[in-house]
């Protein structure tokens, strides 16, 4: 659920205690603490937890320019090395020598929506030249669609011409660097790093990967998706269009020849969430790859945002919050510390319960329980329907409580009738959400059959691997 849904649940929880309602009516605003307690798990995770989380691999496809806070970063040639392979940078320099201008026909493999490869053949033009910026020299190559863009931008490329070149770094067989003109990083680097992390997790136990997003000038983002395909033992990364923070694609698709990155993985792994991970605005995700047992086999399991839904999202934490609130407010002499503590604990528990309706689940009673209890899969955390239905229910409960704890009652009808009049939108909303969840569960089940198809995976191994 979204943050406000949890928060408003806390606001509503406080109104079930007549003493707290009476305080609110008198202008004592301390019960707002209950809402803060209900939001606390997300607050702790997103404002503190994520910054302290371990990162074994940090994938930054397009490092930010330190002054402008967006990519590409303007670098000197001497700062680049083989470690920057596939990353997106900008270099400003002078054309020292044009090595070649070419044209011809090229064939390359692309992947369709189902993950199948097909061969594409097309005409191309290209240019290769040496760029110098005073700190070193680098070979620059512009090819195909990128050549057309490059020519439009700079006209004829001649020796002595000054240019600001954007592109990704590549490494030749002899170890020398090339800057390939492009408007995005190459996805291969992301795929290879994730594959390496999965393989290491299989041997070492756990690897956490932080994937940074790609922010471009004008507060827009290059979207890319990471898709783990267990039966094929592949990590596939697809570079997508430029999107606004609101998720609207505004064109800027990358050419097919640098749209996909595929890395093979040597070890078995399974995917616990059936959709590809999409990275665009806000911040990029962290994914933990953990060695685990699945159907009697050792595999690597993924966990999205490993720092999220941990101890902060447990019922145990709710008890601790209740205890802290009680102690603090009793010490400062607040008369209704017990009610406040109980309401705070219930508020936090409501958060845990509401999140349990989704996919991620939580470790509910640590240290008694050690692992996450899977969610009920009623809807995704961002679902407008479940968020609204829950938030509306909480508003309804608040109005209902305010009314029944006021004498004379401002709305002079029976409690049951008032409650029904107030909550019908939520009943309809939850009804639709439950009906939808059956379809969703069926789809997930089909996808999970595919993702966890270890038998098929083993057969492939017998005939020589993928």
């Amino acid at each position: 659920m979204r943050g406000f849904t949890h928060y408003i649940s806390g606001l509503a929880a406080a109104t079930f205690f007549p003493a707290l309602v009476s305080d609110l009516r008198a202008g004592i605003l301390i019960p707002v603490i209950v809402a803060a307690a209900a939001y606390f798990p997300d607050f702790v995770d997103f404002k503190f937890g994520k910054f302290f989380a371990r990162r074994d691999y940090e994938i930054d496809p397009a490092p930010w320019d330190e002054k402008k806070h967006y990519a590409p970063k303007l670098v000197k040639i001497s700062e680049l090395s083989g470690k920057n392979r596939y990353q997106f940078f900008a270099v400003e320099g002078t054309v020292r020598e044009v090595l070649s201008r070419g044209s011809g026909r090229v064939s390359y493999k692309v992947i369709d929506g189902e993950g199948n490869e097909r061969l594409v053949s097309e005409e191309y033009r290209s240019i290769v030249f040496i760029l110098s910026d005073g700190t070193g020299e680098i070979t620059v190559e512009a090819f195909g669609d990128d050549y057309r863009f490059f020519e439009e931008e700079f006209g004829e490329i001649e020796e002595g011409k000054k240019l600001l070149v954007f592109g990704y770094v590549d490494v030749d067989e002899d170890g020398s660097l090339r800057l390939v003109v492009s408007d995005a990083p190459h996805p291969q680097g992301i795929a290879e790093t994730i594959a390496r992390a999965i393989e290491e997790a299989y041997r070492e136990g756990e690897r956490i990967v932080k994937i940074h997003n790609i922010r471009l000038p004008g507060d827009v983002y290059r979207r890319f998706t990471v898709h783990l395909d267990p039966p094929k033992r592949e990590v596939r990364v697809k570079m997508g269009p430029i999107v606004t923070p609101g998720g609207v694609a505004i064109g800027g698709d990358v050419p097919e020849y640098r749209r996909y990155g595929i890395a093979k993985v040597d070890v078995p792994f399974i995917k616990t969430y059936p959709k590809p991970t999409r990275i665009d605005s806000f911040s990029g995700p962290e994914i933990a790859f953990r060695k685990a047992e699945f159907k009697g086999k050792t595999v690597v399991k993924d966990r999205f945002l490993p720092w999220h839904h941990g101890f902060s999202h447990s019922l145990t934490m709710g008890m601790i919050i209740g205890l802290v609130v009680f102690t603090f407010f009793r010490l400062i002499g607040y008369g209704h510390a017990t009610e406040l503590a109980l309401a705070s604990m219930i508020g936090q528990w409501l958060h845990v319960f509401e999140d349990q309706l989704g996919f991620m689940g939580s470790n509910l009673l640590p240290p008694l329980t050690k692992d996450v209890v899977p969610g009920f899969k009623l809807g995704e955390s961002g679902s407008g329907l479940t968020n609204f239905s829950t938030a509306w229910l909480m508003i309804a409960l608040m109005i209902w409580n305010f009314n029944r704890f006021t004498d004379p009652r401002p709305i002079p009808i029976s409690d049951a009738k008032l409650l029904l009049l107030l909550i019908w939108p939520s009943i309809i909303g939850f009804g639709i959400a439950i009906a939808r969840s059956f379809r969703l569960r069926r789809e997930i089940s089909e996808l999970m059959d595919y993702y966890t198809n270890l038998d098929a995976f083993e057969e492939l191994e017998e005939v020589g691997g993928i």
Partner: protein, 440 residues
């Protein structure tokens, strides 16, 4: 009640007045109405019973036509140091007219929702709900403020080299927001509780502060950033979906209604709450919901003044009008709804054609030049309404408004200028804070 022809005439005069000034960046209809009352008075040129209808026309026009200034005259600089609003992104892509059309879709939806609500729902539902919840307004207000702080999304922090560096990068933005809120609050407290501004400016003492927070700081940023005047496509084309439009309309209506009914809760705060409640996503949905929200917030709040069973005074315009004449009959309420529909139709056409005109000639007058003229005008308005000290308040609040942009935090933290002093007053601590600040 005025005869119908007079009533229509004054509503039309209001629309015309509102439309002519609402497209100018930094101008707010409430400030201009206050100026009108202060300079010309009401009762001589205009009958007192006509003023509510003149105001309704002007406010409807503002709710529609102000889309022009927020889309075309609020451009960020090329380096995009500050996060852009969706409308600014549309402008940078040459799709400013599309953004206006999206807004207009929302505004029309907002008007229809408002009219249907005013005719069939508000009179029956609002009074009992308001009766049951109004003693807890402070609770809601504090809750929204606390949520604003707690939910601020750290826009930086991911790329720090160490955990503490990441934490600091994230928290400097959050702390910046808190700083802006309290700084605005202190300024608001001083303006509201001292005789810094002349007592003759009773209805307009907050005007220079708000001009500074939201108008002047915006205009100065336009001047400093020297934005590119990119060619705009004047085509009538909108990329959205029926689903997004309905969802955005619902969210916008929810946020606008919360803000219209409850005091101090502004349209932005209502939108924040409703956006989270309905899990709203997408630039198109955001702009549509803004159209709905602003119409219901501005026009709906003012309409409550006409509702005989409730007669709530919400918003600066309602306070200004009610100080001169408060509508009393149900006939006036129905006439106000009619005036809203009429004004909305005219405002829609005015906004649409003005947007087409501006899209075609966008790069003729540079926004920087226009901003200089507006900046001078805003100073003159502040001086006329509140004297030389008003100009000082304007300068201080402008600096605070620009701080919010520099810290990359929500501009709405400047609402601390209103929220904090009101909260202090509601909880009965004004005297203590006055002593603490050495103001008595």
């Amino acid at each position: 009640m005025l005869p119908l022809p007079d009533l229509l005439l004054w509503s039309l005069a209001g629309v015309l007045f509102g439309a002519l000034i609402s497209w100018i960046p930094g101008f707010h209809i409430f400030n201009i109405m206050a100026l009108l009352v202060a300079v010309f008075g009401v009762g001589e040129l205009m009958p007192v019973q006509a003023f509510p209808f003149f105001a309704i026309g002007a406010i409807v026009a503002y709710a529609y036509v102000s889309a022009i200034s927020s889309v075309y005259f609020s451009v960020a600089d090329e380096s995009a140091v500050f996060l852009l609003f969706p409308t600014q992104r549309y402008l940078l892509l040459g799709r400013g007219h599309e953004a206006v059309l999206l807004y207009l879709i929302g505004a029309v939806a907002g008007t229809l929702i408002l009219v249907v609500g005013a005719l069939f729902i508000f009179p029956r539902v609002l009074p009992p709900i308001y009766q049951a919840t109004s003693p807890y307004v402070t609770y809601f207000l504090v809750a929204i403020v606390v949520f604003m702080f707690m939910s601020e999304w750290p826009k930086e922090g991911d790329r720090g080299k160490t955990p503490f560096q990441r934490l600091w990068m994230a928290w400097r933005q959050i702390l910046g927001g808190i700083f802006v809120f309290f700084l605005s609050g202190i300024l608001g407290f001083i303006v509201m509780n001292t005789n810094l501004l002349p007592t003759t400016s009773a209805y307009t003492r907050l005007t220079p502060m708000f001009i500074g927070f939201f108008g002047m700081s915006w205009v100065i940023l336009n001047i400093l950033s020297n934005p590119p005047m990119l060619e705009q496509v004047p085509e009538d084309r909108v990329e959205s979906s029926i689903y997004n439009t309905l969802k955005a309309s619902f969210g916008g209506a929810l946020g606008g209604t919360i803000a219209a009914v409850y005091p101090i809760i502004t349209g932005g705060m209502g939108a924040l709450v409703a956006g989270h409640m309905t899990s709203q996503r997408g630039d198109d949905a955001f702009i549509i919901s803004q159209g709905v929200n602003r119409v219901i917030y501005y026009v709906g709040a003012f309409t409550l003044l006409f509702l005989p069973q409730l007669r709530l005074t919400r918003g600066a315009a309602a306070w200004l009008v009610s100080s001169i004449y408060t509508p009393k009959s149900y006939a006036e309420y129905l006439a106000a709804i009619g005036a809203i529909l009429l004004s909305a139709g005219i405002s829609f056409l005015f906004t649409y054609y003005l947007s087409k005109f501006i899209a075609r000639s966008f790069n003729i007058v540079h926004i920087r030049k226009l901003s200089y003229v507006v900046a001078v005008t805003l100073v003159v308005i502040s001086y006329l309404l509140t004297g030389p000290m008003g100009v000082v308040v304007l300068m201080v609040s402008t600096a605070i408004g620009m701080m919010a942009a520099a810290f990359n935090t929500r501009r709405s933290y400047c609402l601390g200028g209103l929220i904090l002093p009101v909260l202090i007053s509601m909880t009965g601590h004004t005297g203590e804070i006055m002593s603490l600040l050495g103001l008595r």
